[in-house]
């Protein structure tokens, strides 16, 4: 007799547990307000990334096309993957002195692992991360970028 009770109790419990699960899914089906999908390419305009998001390494320039990079190469040393190359040159300043400055600050996005050691170790805060995340390109060469803008100069006082 006990096994018969067990049999029917098993059926009842089983159906009850199934109904509980179905009630959850059914509720979600009829509540379109809970949809979490973001229509990504359509919401580009009002898509705000977090300000610390590590998207793309950039070298901020001010309106006079000046940056803070001294070309010291610490970022290059700190990078674990060799994704930064600093090519420096010697320039002569107005007062006749020669000093070292960057010619090209080359950044290989394809090698970068976004560990942020370059940004953190830069003594003059010349590097930063942008919130740009759409990195896809058709040509691998496009992933190698020059961070200092053409004709840019080092900021005074750095």
């Amino acid at each position: 007799m006990n096994s018969v009770v067990q049999y029917f109790k098993g059926i009842a419990d089983g159906i009850w547990s199934l109904l509980k699960g179905m009630s959850v899914t059914n509720r979600y089906f009829f509540s379109p307000g809970k949809i979490v999908t973001q229509k990504y390419p359509n919401n580009r305009k009002d898509l705000v990334m977090f300000d610390r998001f590590k998207g793309d390494l950039i070298m901020p320039h001010d309106e006079k096309n000046e940056h803070k990079c001294t070309g010291c190469g610490i970022c290059q040393i700190n990078c674990p993957n060799g994704s930064i190359e600093v090519i420096s040159k010697t320039i002569t300043t107005e007062d006749g002195k020669t000093r070292k400055a960057i010619d090209k600050h080359i950044y290989h996005l394809g090698k970068c692992t976004f560990c942020a050691l370059c940004v953190k170790s830069c003594p003059s805060d010349a590097l930063a991360f942008s919130q740009e995340f759409e990195h896809a390109v058709f040509n691998k060469e496009l992933l190698t970028k020059q961070l200092n803008k053409p004709g840019s100069q080092i900021m005074k006082g750095v």
Binding site: L18, K20, G21, F50, N78, A116
Partner: protein
Amino acid sequence: MEEQVLNTAINEDEPYLINMGPQHPSTHGVLRLVVSLKGETVKNVVPHIGYIHRGIEKMCESLTYPQIIHLTDRMDYLSAHINNEAVCLNVEKALEIEIPERVKVIRTIMAELTRIQSHQLFWASYGMDLGGQTCYFYGLRDREKVLDIFEETTGGRMIVSYSCPGGLMYDIHPNFQKRVNDFIKYFRSILWEYDAILTGNVIFRERTIGIGKLSLEDAVSYGVTGPSGRASGFSCDIRKHDPYSAYDRVKFNEVLFTEGDTYHRYLARIEEMKESMNIIEQLIDNIPEGPYTVKMKPVLKLPEGEYFQKVETARGELDVFIVSDGNKYPFRMKFRSPNFVNLGVLNHISKEFKIADLVAIAGSLDFVIPDIDR
């Protein structure tokens, strides 16, 4: 294939071999399981690994200690922060640096958040392994909220790279505490759905209870740690037995079961999520003030010697072993990754079960393949 003539008898003892993987929906990566079947009954499972081997241990020998951190993110990418922390703790121990209280508390909170999101993903993918695809989306929906917290503070979603020797890369974001509190409130209110859809479901219980039993002796001798080991009654929680960071000041229970079957491995993770929320709640509202990092030398050189640190990741015990010859690079770096060790028990516990159970068992051990291969 040469044609066989029908009257040659089929050799009954010849195993029916099936390659599950390297590309297979239920191996969660590039794990290859060579399964010998008899009918649908699993007779033997031979895991073949190495499809995603990157030689992280060897790469570490040519990187400085701060640079190593970002590689550990990529071992067990679901416990990324805890892996970071393990290396950092080891280096700090070697250098004998006193870490600010603030750093310890933040690291603990982040580690517990990592554990929660890892278990959420486990729940999601385990539901999918058993055929309930809706679980996957509910699990990921809630996991996104944790990842948002990570992204806001660390700039990365999975690959956080947040700890560094001597402290943290940046201070926490001003929104951090509010977001974490909101998340815990939200997650507590939604956990009943997890139970309604999966835990209490009669099909799920039938599929998991009594399947893949791992006895305490076997768990100890195979070295199965983490929730999988604790489901067998193996009290192996490093946070409890050998506290690091801020675990010595919080109260929490070590989730222990004795059954050791698939269902309890699953249940252990669900319970751990609740415990993790308890831990976070104890810490989140009184994070001590102070610096978020210690001023370190520009080049870290560990004194000559051997250093060892163990931490509890979401999957078990992660040991970091550094041999230093006094240089700025480690002479040898060894990780004892929990997944690699847990994988060893798969053959033992899945014998004589059905192939569908093999999926359930492998899912309940919660493998992360890059951690196995490193």
